[in-house]
Symmetry: C2
Subunit: 137 residues, 2 copies
DNA sequence: CCGTATCCTGGTCGATACTG
DNA sequence: CAGTATCGACCAGGATACGG
């Protein structure tokens, strides 16, 4: 079982007892998930899509300073991981919209707990950061 | 107010109503927090420290394949943000231990919700990924 | 035992230009 | 409108060597 984050301390004890058990960092569930949704634009896009479906152009306009390349890539990666569903309407000109899948909504419920913590405590973190940097001299 | 992730849809409505309101991506609370704890080694280290304090060498041995440079840097950054407390015992040879602060424990409570989701659903994500990649042809 | 300093590489992201 | 293609800058992260 390749579960790096489950019971690491248990593995330490096992190792001290003489067993040889190795953590599998290649196949780590946490990295699989966090690696994508922790990206630069993913939280922003996910938050928007958690409210309602959006069209490509809407997302692009709503997220300032995002390049066309990055909005495309972010949406493709979220679709690839099964968080987002992409629907093409073959109108002229074409129209595409994006919405969360059930998996995406399920994930975002858990993610939003952390996101809310971030909102509530970002000032404390920034304060700690300033203090640390000034003490560095 | 520089709160990128709070009420973006509200800002859309405001913009559609003719107001000019810009998102501040430089000073974004989510990036401040996620940028650090979403790093490659931070989740692993935080998970370990959530169990009990650890000494530097223990952490190094517990996290396979981490370089001395990265364990040091990860711990310093977590300390800088106020999540981790570093205690030096001036013994000979010196000994240093690391433990979560109250802020760190508070953060990890929220983080662990997402971490647990990742454990439970990583297979679904990987399956979706494989499906997407094979369809790409 | 617990680090710091230096160099280097691979991947991420942005800018720009072009297409169905 | 909704993308793809290409190039280059930048930086997180790894290897290695040395210091308190």
């Amino acid at each position: 079982m390749a579960d790096t984050h489950a019971g690491i301390a248990g593995k330490l004890r096992a190792r001290q007892a003489g067993e040889v058990e190795t953590l599998d960092l290649e196949n780590c569930p946490v990295r699989t998930v966090i690696g994508q949704i922790g990206g630069k634009w993913s939280p922003l896009v996910l938050q928007l899509l958690s409210e309602r479906p959006y069209r490509f152009g809407e997302l692009r306009r709503l997220v300032p300073d995002i390049s066309q390349r990055m909005i495309t890539q972010t949406l493709r990666d979220l679709e690839r991981d099964g968080y987002v569903d992409r629907t093409v309407y073959p109108t002229k000109p074409p129209s595409v919209d994006y919405r969360l899948t059930d998996l995406g909504r399920s994930m975002f419920v858990s993610y939003s707990v952390l996101l809310e913590w971030a909102h509530a405590n970002a000032d404390a973190v920034k304060a700690s950061r300033r203090r640390f940097d000034s003490e560095a001299a």
